[in-house]
Structures are given as structure tokens and as C-alpha cells.
Amino acid sequence: MIPKACVVLVLAGLLAGCSRSGSSAVAPAEVVVYASVDDVFSRPIVEKFEKDTGIKAKLVVDTEETKSTGLVNRLIAEKNRPQADVFWCGDPVRAALLKSKGVTAPYKSPQLEGMPLDFTDKEHHWIGFSARARIIIYNTNLVAKGEEPASVLDLLDARFKGKACMANPLFGTTSMHATALFAKLGDEKATNFFDGFSANGGKMLSSNGEVRRRVVNGEYAVGLTDTDDYNEAREEKKPVGAVYADAKGMGTVIVPNAVMMINGGPNPELGKKFIDYLLNPETEKALAESGAAQMPVRPGVPVPAHVTPLDKLTPMPLDYPQLAERLLKLADGYLDEWARKNAK
Amino acid sequence: MNGFQLTSVSKAYGNHIVLRELTLTFAPGENTAILGPSGCGKSTMLRLLAGLDVPSAGQINLDGRPVSQPKMIILPPHARSVSMVFQDLALWPNLTVMGNVRLGLSGMTLERKEREGRAAEALQLCGIHELADRRPGTLSGGQQQRVALARALAVQPRYLLLDEPFSGLDLITKLRLLEDIRSLAKERHFTVLLVCHDPMEAWTLCRFAVTLEQGKVRESGPLLELLASPKSELLRVFRDHLPKSDSLRR
């Protein structure tokens, strides 16, 4: 017989656990932060914010990499009565999308002073900071020095036949990169690139992380991914190198983080404090020093040797709100078709 | 008129007619066996008497009062002063022997002390007082029968309905139980209505019998008289194989 006391304890515990403390009715001294930036990078920053300000922060993390139905959907669904005060997004395209859906609220942070506004919404619905860049990762055992690809278009070369890979262009930063190529090259050249990639035996993998793994283990010689993925492999001393994709030419796709206030969030004042904290030079420095190896957007923030300062790169000029619109069309059109054909 | 009276009682489940126009009387003190082949409606008749089921047609009276009418139970089972030992005994497996008897008494308005007394007495009467703290699953078949009997007797019924409770028991245990019930019925003044396939069980416990065939009464009356000129094949075969000494004993 299961002791009655046990049953009572379990039920009491459950009720207690599910009750007020677990509810979303957040106490006034708490800020709720949704983040689609990987937990390993976002949590230490949030914990430091709590320590430095004494404000309690509750973090809900998702990752675009693993293609969950995710926080962007949750934010859209919660629009009429949001639970979040702030959304810390891994890329500005989804930020622009949320703005177009009326999820965000404008906030002109005092920390904007001294920051370049290239990566920030003109109406301050979202603010770009610490950035990643799209890179071509290569296996140093398979690609000789001087033979590294410099442009994504190099992946169509015969020397990389059957040796190149990229993540599913419907998701994450790869989708942003793909859309940027359509914006920069035009529809015809961009479709030629994707068709050529397939024709050259290029492989579509499930995520940027998978691209990193497969290049690291030598299954593929080159792959398209992000700086943070490369940095993980570099820190683990894997035989890989990286080049900023199209650094000479059409420019490298820069993927800044984007932080935004949620329209109608429960604690807007605390939300603002969190945004100010995030835009602080110290936070950008911390993110540069972390495994994410992100490039500070603010000039003059010191970075470790393995992080290239943003002003040393040639960013691809991009209109993020337009990219967001274009991405939705492509996700329902060419890219969807391409992903379908290349699924196996 | 005392006892159970069935007047033109029929019972059907959907299109399937189980009992057809039964008119019978079970008088107090007349231990009666209800015999017949499988599916002839014996158990259904017992359930009608107990009030577990309603007749489709006809009426059942107890001591002259109507207790069941078509689609209506007028007097609920626990107010009929009947008790029943089910075919599968229906012992509540998670309760102890004492727990089974006590819960069986919970429908009666009794003082706690009296309830405890009755339960203990019923266990004593059935010879299982030493098993009071055991669960049914840990008992032998014969012991389980006695628990079911104790639970039934604890409520001090006027009618004890037995629905083939002895099938599966070895001969010695079965005969002991039958003898015990017969003497208890005499001592406690209750009437036994026994449903069984086996005329030997009927012979040991009852003086009266009813045989059913295809939902109808084939014959009824004192068992000895029925055996003298049996109409049903069941009693005919039984009579032909009954040892002479046994008839002398009765």
C-alpha cells in the first residue's frame, strides 16, 4: 500500500508548487526576459544583472538553432496580454517581424549615445548590439592554406564538390543570410547560387551546430555558419579555420543581437533598466569574452584577440525590416522548395 | 402471503428473453434449489429476487408487498432482508476478512459496538475468526467461501441467496460447507435459495427445488416428490445415479 502520507505530501507539494509562486503574476521587483540567445551565453549576463542591480530577473530561453516552435510565436500569441517585459533576440530580422506584428514598444535608451545606429530600428522598437557574423568554417586538414574560400559563391567551385554544407535556410541565422543574398544579389543570382550549391553536391544540414560538427570531423571540408559556432570549435582546439564570408566584395552578413521592449509588458520600468544594462559597454565586453565571441557594436570596447572588431569588417548593408518581409515570402516560396528538395 | 412471490415475471436483455412468465413462490423455511442447464436464467432469477435487476414484465412481492415491478425497484436490496453469496464470491480484495464483513454491515443502522459484535460472531459462526486480518487473496478457495458466507450472514438475512458458490471446490470442503449452511439455516431461521448445476448440492441443502429450462419453469415442488417422477432430464439422470443409502439417509 502506498502510504497515505506520501500521497498527501505529493498532492500538497503539487498544489503548493503550482500555486501563486509559480504563476506569471510577477512580483513588482521582477523583470521577465525572453531570450532566443543560447542559454549558455544569456544566463550569465542575466545573473550578473541581478547581482549588479538587485533586481530579480526571470529568464525564458529558446534557441533558434533547434527550431522549436519558440518564443517568437509565444510573443505573438501573448500579444494582447504579454508576460515578458523584454525580448532579447538573436537576430534583428525576427525583431523587425515582431515590430511589424505590433508586439514591440519603442524605447530610446540613454545607452544609445555613442552607439552607431546602423543596427538599430529607426523608431527604436529594437536596438542592435553585440553582433555575430556569418562565416565560412573549414577543416584545416582538408583545405590547404591559401585555398580557403572567400565568398559563399566559392562553394560552387569544383574543388568543393560534395564537400560543402549549410544549415536549413528556413531557420535561424541561415535564413537571414539566405534572404540577405537575395536582397544583395537579386532573385536570379541568388537562386543560381542555391541551385548551384545543390548541383555541386552541397548538403543541407539541420543546424549551424551540425555544420560545425560535420566540418570538424572532416565529413565536409567547408560550411556556412556563425562566428559563435566557429569559436566553440576553436576553443575545443578542433582542426578548423574560418573566413568572414564575402569580406571582400558584397560584404559580410552581420547578425547583431536585438533587444526590445514588449508592448504592454507587466514591468516596463524594470524592462528599460534591463535594456540599459544590456547595452552597457561592460555587457558587450562580457559577450565578446564569452564563448559566443560576439563583436561589440559600440566602438572602442576592448575585445580579446580572437574577436575581430566590427570596424575591421565590411558589413553587408542591409535593411532589416525589408529582410523580414522578404524572408516570409521566401520561406513560403523558393527557400521552402529548395529545402524540400535538399531534405535528404 | 409470506415469502417471495413471482407473478408472470419475464426478463429480457434487448431482444434476448431470459425468463418467460415465471409464477413461483418461495416460502419462508423452504430451502429451495433452483436447477437447470447453463443459460436457463437461474442466476437472473436470483438477481431479480435480490433486487439487483428489474423484471421486464410481471411483479415480485415479498410478504405480500410489491418489491419489484417492470423497470422499477420498489424496495432496494438491503431493505429486503436478503443476502447473497455470488458466483465469484465478490469479496472486496483490498479489505481484510474482517473488513469485508464490517463493510457488508455498513448499510445497517447499528451502533458501532453491535456492528463489531455481529462481525465477530459471523466469523466465529463460519469458523474463520482466526483469519480476520488476512486478505481474501491469501486464502484457499474454501476459506474464501466461508468469508463470503460470513459477510452474507452477518446482516442476519431472512433469505440467503447462493449463486453457484461451490463450483470449483473439492468434494470434502463442499460437503462440509453445505452441512454447515444447512445447520446454520436451521439455527438462525433463514431460508436458502440455491442456484446450482449439481443436484448433489441441492440434495444436501434443500428440500424443495425448481428446475428451469429455456427461461421457463419445468417443474417445482418438494425435491423428493420431483425425484419420484422427474420431468426434467437433469433430475431424471440424478435420480438414476443417486445411491440407495443416500435416499435412506434423507
Binding site: 507539494g13 516570409l328 531534405a343 | -
Partner: protein
């Protein structure tokens, strides 16, 4: 009192009760379904959806067939024979039920990446999905066939043994449980339809991954809603006829009867073959992907960070698991009560439960978000709390509770209630003293099983967790893309160890309570 204790009684109240329970289970998904068809896009399901649906059904069919082929003989044999290493082999084979499929997919992916491109190519697409999804389908079929075999009486087995030895025993038992096996294998096939993970990781466009793409890449809730409905309808079309055919056999074979089960025997060759067979299944579907997950541990483990994650999330994980298990069990057992011995209602309940399984959990979760967003703040304790997560998880696994609940209720003899009625025992007292204690161990096992399954569900927790209250598997999910491989491997390793411990607990409880 009369009606309550007369368990055979039919009546419309049973139907209304069942409709009410299914209504509760369906309610969260309904707003999105409605919205999906009311939108101006009409009835479109997206260009690629039919082919993705076709892929899904191919995978489901393969999973059903192979899980039957492997699970049925193993289930029968484990019920009939003793074999060396029984406890540990069964625990290993059962483990995939408790682990999110994406972990196995990643494990395979990591292992094949290590073994080279040929192996990777061999284990991608259809094949990869089938291998990953089989891992959880096999134990499901195995255990149901095991239970059905235990319902064969000892004397029947002995008669078969006398007639033709072990071969006849096995043939007889397999024929006896085949129908239950087919049914549960189909259920396992249906379960795969709602799982997008393996398809995405191993490169196959399935209906579930298509739905996910509609949500996550196109942010088109209406399209996703319509796709969910089409998937559910497709399953329903298969499930209802199957339930009609299956229910009578199910009650005859799967539902317990009061029989003396045969003692498990030791037979030298059969026992060793069985042990080897189970080992092979464990190796192929559990140990190898586990190896893949653990490979990075050979270089670096991040144990302190992993333990920190466990400390941060264990309480919420337990609350979600216990809550989901309790609510699903209550709903499932209530449905079992309403279905009673009503054959038609049992058929309908099984069919609907099967179809409910096919609804992707994100659909219900987003429905709950809509509901909570459009409700006043005072409903937050109900609609935006950990209780909400528990509820959403419970309706995901409620169909399992339905089957187990119906099984438990059917194992109660109707004469128990009749005896209580005859003795004038009040229904409340009868319920308290007989029904609840009798059902409690069955409910505990159902609750535990669902709790374990719910632990492995990620999507629901991600969408509905109150801020700051994530679960442990979700923590793995959110770090696995970019965290150091050693950390991911440490987290996965800890999860698998904890799952093994929990599983051992369930086994010992089940053995003690239902022996």
C-alpha cells in the same frame, strides 16, 4: 446510489461524461483549429504538405511494422520465460520511452558523424527517422504484448507445451496477442506523426516538421492549424475503423482477466536467445546512440555546470511530471469509469484517444496561450502557472491514461459493486474503501508512466513555462546547439542516468503492486 453502484448500467450519462472529458482534452486546440479555417486562406494546407504527410505515413507504417516484428516476439517471450539479466535488459530496452526523441537523433547524428559519411548517409532520411522512432515504439509494443501474454492462463500454456513443446507455446501465444500487438504498434506509428525532431535533424520532410516550419519559419498559425487538422483527420480515418475492429479483441486480450498466469519458465536455448535478442535491441536502439551522446565526455566533461542545471530545474521538472501524471490519470480513469463495460463507448473512446495522439503538442499549447492572453489577469493562476504546463502535458499523454484506466476499471468484477449495493453500502463509502484503494496502484503506475513521458516533452514546456520555471530536458534543449559538446554530453548523460533510476523505481513499484 443505485445507478452509481450498478456498473453495468447503461445510460446517456456515460456518453455525456465521456464527451465532457474529451472536451476538456480537446478544448485548448479548438480555438486555433477554428481560427485556422475561419481565415481568408480557406482550406489550403501548403504545397509540400501532402508529400510530407505521405513521408510521415511511410515512416509511421515502417515504425509500426518493425516495432511489431521485434516487439511482439520479445514481449511474448519475456512474459513466458526467465532469462539472464532480466531486470537490467528490460530497463535498458524500455528507456527510450522516457527520453525525448531528439536526444536519440542527436546521439545517432554524433555517432554517425564519428563513423564516417557512409554510415551517415545510411542513417539519414527515412531510415534514420525509422531507427530513431523505433527506439520508443519497440518497448511500447513489447510491454503491451507482455501484458497480453500474462493474460493467457497457465493451463492454456501447459496444454500448448504438452501438444508440441516450446515452439507450439510461442506460436500459440503470438497468435493470441497478435491483435493487441498490431493495435499498439499502430498507436506507436501514430505517435511518430506528431514528432518533428527526428525529421528535422535527420533530413526528412514530415507532416510534423512541416507544421513546425509553418509555425517557426513562416509564423503562420492558421496554416499550421489547418495542417494539424488534416493530420488529425487522416489519423482519425484510420483510427476509428481500427478501434471498431480492435475494441472487442482489446477487451478480450489486453484488458485483464482473473486467470492464473503461467509461471515463467527457464528454457535453456529460448532463454539465451531471448537475452541475446533483448541485448541486441538495447545495443542498437539505446546503447549506440547513448555512446554517440557520450563521445565528447572522453575529452571533457562539464559536470559542475551540468549539476548546476539539475539543481536549477529539478523541482520544476518534478512538478511538471507529477502534475501531468496526476491530471492525466484522473482524466483517463474518469473516462474509464464513464466507459464502464459499454462496448460502443469503449470503441469510440479508444478511437478518439488514438486520434488525439496525433495532434502536435504545440497546437494545444498555443491554444492555451491564446486562451490565457484573452482572459483576465485573475485567471493567471489557472492559465499561466505551472499548473497550466501540467495540464497541457497531461492532455498530451491522456490517451495512455485512457487505455490504462479502462484496463484498471475492467479488472474490477462487477459483482463487487453489486455486493455493495445489496448490502446497502453507500457509494461514497464503497468508493473510499474499495474502489480507490483498488485502483490506486494501477493509477500510480499510469501516473508514473505519464510523468516520465511528460518529462521528455519539450515543446509544451517551452511555450507555457512561467518565466523562470523551465525543466531539465528543456535546459538540455536550449544549450545543445552552441554549448561546448562536453557540457551537452554531461547533461545528456545525467538525464539518462536519472531516467534509469526513475525507471528502476517504476519497475520495482510495479513488481510489488501488481505481481
Amino acid at each position: 446510489m443505485r445507478n452509481t453502484l450498478r456498473t453495468n448500467s447503461t445510460g446517456t450519462w456515460r456518453w455525456w461524461g465521456a464527451i465532457g472529458i474529451f472536451g476538456i482534452a480537446l478544448a485548448p486546440a479548438l480555438p486555433l483549429f477554428w481560427q485556422a479555417f475561419a481565415s481568408r486562406d480557406g482550406w489550403l494546407a501548403g504545397r509540400g504538405f501532402p508529400s510530407a504527410l505521405f513521408n510521415s505515413f511511410q515512416v509511421a507504417l515502417a515504425v509500426a511494422a518493425l516495432s511489431l516484428l521485434i516487439g511482439l516476439p520479445l514481449g511474448v517471450a519475456t512474459a513466458l520465460y526467465e532469462f539472464p539479466g532480466r531486470g537490467s535488459l528490460l530497463a535498458v530496452v524500455t528507456m527510450p520511452i522516457l527520453v525525448p526523441s531528439f536526444l536519440w537523433a542527436i546521439g545517432w547524428s554524433a555517432l554517425t558523424a564519428h563513423l564516417g559519411p557512409d554510415v551517415t548517409a545510411a542513417l539519414s532520411g527515412h531510415t534514420g527517422c525509422v531507427v530513431v522512432l523505433l527506439a520508443a515504439a519497440i518497448p511500447l509494443v513489447l510491454w503491451v504484448c507482455h501484458a497480453a501474454t500474462r493474460n493467457i492462463s497457465g493451463s492454456q500454456i501447459e496444454a500448448a507445451r504438452l501438444a508440441g513443446g516450446e515452439r507450439t507455446v510461442l506460436k500459440y501465444a503470438i497468435a493470441h496477442v497478435a491483435f493487441s500487438g498490431v493495435l499498439v504498434a499502430s498507436l506507436a506509428g501514430v505517435l511518430t506523426l506528431a514528432d518533428p525532431g527526428p525529421g528535422l535533424i535527420l533530413g526528412l520532410r514530415t507532416a510534423a516538421s512541416e507544421i513546425l516550419t509553418s509555425f517557426a519559419a513562416r509564423y503562420d498559425f492558421n496554416l499550421a492549424g489547418r495542417q494539424c487538422v488534416y493530420l488529425t483527420l487522416a489519423v482519425l480515418m484510420l483510427a476509428i475503423p481500427m478501434a471498431i475492429v480492435a475494441a472487442p479483441r482489446l477487451t478480450a486480450e489486453l484488458l485483464p482477466r482473473q486467470v492464473r498466469s503461467g509461471q515463467r519458465s527457464w528454457h535453456a536455448s529460448v532463454s539465451w536467445v531471448l537475452a541475446l535478442g533483448l541485448f541486441a535491441v538495447g545495443l542498437a536502439f539505446v546503447i549506440l546512440p547513448w555512446l554517440g551522446l557520450s563521445l565528447p565526455l572522453t575529452q571533457s566533461g562539464h559536470w559542475s555546470r551540468a549539476l548546476q542545471e539539475v539543481r536549477r530545474t529539478w523541482l520544476d521538472t518534478v512538478i511538471y511530471a507529477v502534475g501531468a501524471g496526476s491530471i492525466a490519470t484522473i482524466l483517463g480513469f474518469l473516462l474509464g469509469f464513464f466507459a464502464g463495460k459499454n462496448h460502443r463507448l469503449q470503441v469510440v473512446s479508444l478511437g478518439v484517444a488514438l486520434a488525439l495522439f496525433a495532434i502536435p503538442p504545440s497546437q494545444a499549447s498555443l491554444g492555451v496561450i491564446y486562451l490565457s492572453t484573452n482572459s483576465p489577469a485573475w485567471t493567471d493562476d489557472l492559465l499561466r502557472s505551472r499548473l497550466t504546463v501540467c495540464f497541457a502535458l497531461s492532455i498530451r499523454f491522456f490517451p495512455i491514461a485512457v487505455v490504462l484506466g479502462m484496463r484498471a476499471w475492467n479488472s474490477m468484477s462487477p459483482s463487487w459493486a453489486q455486493a455493495a449495493y445489496l448490502h446497502g453500502v453507500s457509494p461514497v463509502r464503497y468508493g473510499r474503501m474499495v474502489v480507490i484503494p483498488f485502483l490506486a496502484p494501477h493509477a500510480a503506475i499510469a501516473g508514473l508512466l505519464i510523468a516520465l513521458l511528460a518529462t521528455a516533452e519539450i515543446g509544451t514546456v517551452l511555450l507555457l513555462q512561467p518565466p523562470g520555471h523551465g525543466s531539465f530536458p528543456l535546459a538540455i534543449f536550449t544549450v545543445m546547439a552552441n554549448a561546448p559538446e562536453g557540457l551537452v554530453a554531461s547533461l545528456c548523460f545525467l538525464y539518462l542516468v536519472l531516467a534509469t533510476i526513475l525507471l528502476t523505481g517504476v519497475f520495482s513499484l510495479a513488481r510489488r503492486r501488481l505481481a
